[in-house]
């Protein structure tokens, strides 16, 4: 499980995250909500090892992994879908997926099975396997980034706004997929602009405001007690 204690993240003089603490238990789906600039992505990237903590602690299964390398975090079973939709533009769809399975590249059979599973899940990607990822539409790139993260067979998945900029039908599909992953006991930390949908699938939620935790509770509690629209207007 993930345990974040009193985490601070700064970019030069800007303090993006100020004393945030939260936990995600094994098999739990926890969502982080908050207005633009609240510090959600910074928190996720820090847990993933992509940026260093100024202070505080990140624990994974009781082990202190504060400011570990991103590659070490992946080896420990944590995969990340960053919000910046980072496909490798000059690599093909297939090659992007190959890299997703980098740490288990010895397991050729398993990797090619997983690749076909991803193509079943996202048929649009299957049609474009030999195409450079940079030429995919925004939504297709988002599908690719999610599929690529799953190729490592993670135990823990960090998802930063997986539905950003996608058509409603695809958003539904992504949430179906998230529910399915949850049913398979994957531990998930989800950041979403679509708070209603996120709260429907989440076990628990935390609300971030200006880099601090402003509230927490089960999905229903937060949905009932918080004015969701105000949440995203920075309220």
């Amino acid at each position: 499980m993930i345990e974040v204690k009193d985490l601070y993240v700064s970019y030069g003089a800007v303090q993006a995250v100020r004393g945030v603490s939260f936990t995600v238990a094994d098999g739990e789906l926890v969502t982080l909500l908050g207005a633009n600039g609240a510090g959600k992505s910074s928190s996720i990237l820090c847990v993933a090892g992509a940026i260093k903590a100024a202070s505080g602690q990140v624990m994974l299964d009781g082990e202190d992994v504060t400011s570990a390398n991103p590659e070490a975090m992946l080896r420990k079973g944590m995969a990340t879908v960053p919000e910046t939709r980072d496909v490798f533009p000059d690599l093909t769809v297939d090659q992007n997926l190959t890299l997703g399975a980098y740490v288990r590249r010895g397991d050729r059979k398993g990797v090619s099975e997983d690749r076909e599973r991803m193509f079943d899940m996202f048929p649009r990607l299957a049609e474009r396997r030999e195409q450079a990822a940079g030429t995919l539409s925004g939504g297709e790139q988002q599908m690719l980034v999610i599929a690529r993260a799953l190729m490592s067979r993670p135990r823990v998945l960090l998802l930063d706004e997986p539905s950003l900029g996608l058509a409603p039908a695809i958003v539904d599909k992504i949430f179906e997929m998230i529910a399915e992953l949850k049913a398979q006991k994957l531990t998930i930390l989800l950041v979403e602009q679509n708070a209603r949908k996120a709260l429907q699938v989440a076990d628990r939620a935390y609300v971030l405001r200006l880099g601090e935790i402003a509230g927490s509770g089960t999905g229903q509690e937060i949905a009932g007690s918080t004015d969701l629209d105000a949440l995203y207007l920075g309220g």
Binding site: A50, N69, T80, F88, L91, Q95, G100
Partner: protein
């Protein structure tokens, strides 16, 4: 007709050497976004290794292999000595340490070997000629062309088909994302330096094969050539480096053929003027390459 054949062979052999030099430089640049100023010294290391093992009874190909391996070791040493300790800290620091490492290697050669050029063993074939289309053509040009074709093909295969190559290309566009997929930063960087050293080693032997001797300052010209070729082709793309190498060779060869004897000593001034024109037209180089991520 004779002239055309001769011209083409000249451009291809010079261009092949330039392209390999540029590839070795841009490979490290792509991943670290830093120019390795000690790159020319890898060629020097290959040359001196060949000089030092020259007295031994080993077959020449084995000596050449030892020289290439030493260039790879020197490449890896550049990473460990000049880059790794200060990589995360600042760009300026790495520029200075790579300069310092370059100077260190050169001074080592000055001090322990000699400031004067030293001969290197070369097989007979390097000084032989064959008749192509009725024109005597140096075998070393043909060898250079063959070596360039083989190495460029091998390199393309490595970058397209192997997981390591794909990971290196990914690291060149977005290093952090590649690391978030479990690609180890140190492995990728060390591989880039080793491959860079390999290319420098092979090209070094071919380059020295033209001159026959090695001196402490021998690396400067290849470094400049590689750098200019990368700038012409576009610093962000591997194809660009190869294209830039051949274009630079085309310019140099054309000038060699057309300039009169008095003007020939100013050839580099003409070359640089043309390079400036190309850059005015295409400031980012001829091939853009994918939008690249931040330096890591």
């Amino acid at each position: 007709m004779d002239f055309a054949i001769q011209f083409i062979i000249n451009v291809l052999s010079l261009g092949g050497a330039y392209a390999l030099m540029a590839l070795g430089l841009v490979l490290v640049y792509g991943i670290l976004k830093l120019v390795n100023f000690a790159y020319g010294e890898l060629i020097m290391v290959a040359g001196y290794t060949l000089h030092l093992v020259g007295g031994s009874p080993l077959p020449w190909l084995v000596m050449a292999l030892v020289a290439v391996v030493m260039a790879m070791v020197a490449g890896l040493a550049t990473d460990y000595v000049a880059f790794r300790p200060v990589r995360a800290k600042s760009v300026t620091a790495v520029l200075i340490t790579s300069f310092a490492f370059s100077t260190l290697l050169q001074n080592g050669a000055l001090l322990f070997i000699s400031p004067r050029p030293r001969s290197v063993p070369l097989p007979e074939i390097f000084s032989q000629s064959v008749m192509i289309g009725g024109i005597p053509t140096p075998m070393r040009d043909i060898i250079t062309i063959i070596a360039a074709v083989v190495l460029l093909g091998l390199f393309a295969w490595l970058m397209q088909k192997t997981v390591l190559g794909i990971a290196m290309r990914a690291a060149a566009t977005n290093f952090t994302m590649a690391r978030m997929l479990g690609v180890p930063a140190n492995l990728i960087i060390s591989s880039a330096f080793a491959i860079s050293g390999f290319l420098a080693g092979v090209v070094g032997i071919l380059w020295i094969g033209r001159i026959g001797t090695v001196a402490p300052g021998i690396g400067l010209e290849p470094l400049l050539i590689a750098f200019i070729a990368c700038v012409i082709g576009g610093m962000r793309s591997l194809q660009g480096a190869v294209l830039g190498g051949f274009i630079l060779a085309f310019i140099d060869t054309t000038l060699n053929y057309t300039l009169s004897q008095d003007l020939l000593k100013f050839r580099d001034a003409f070359t640089f003027s043309l390079v400036i024109l190309i850059l005015l037209w295409r400031p980012d180089g001829l091939i853009k390459g994918p939008a690249s991520g931040q330096r890591t």
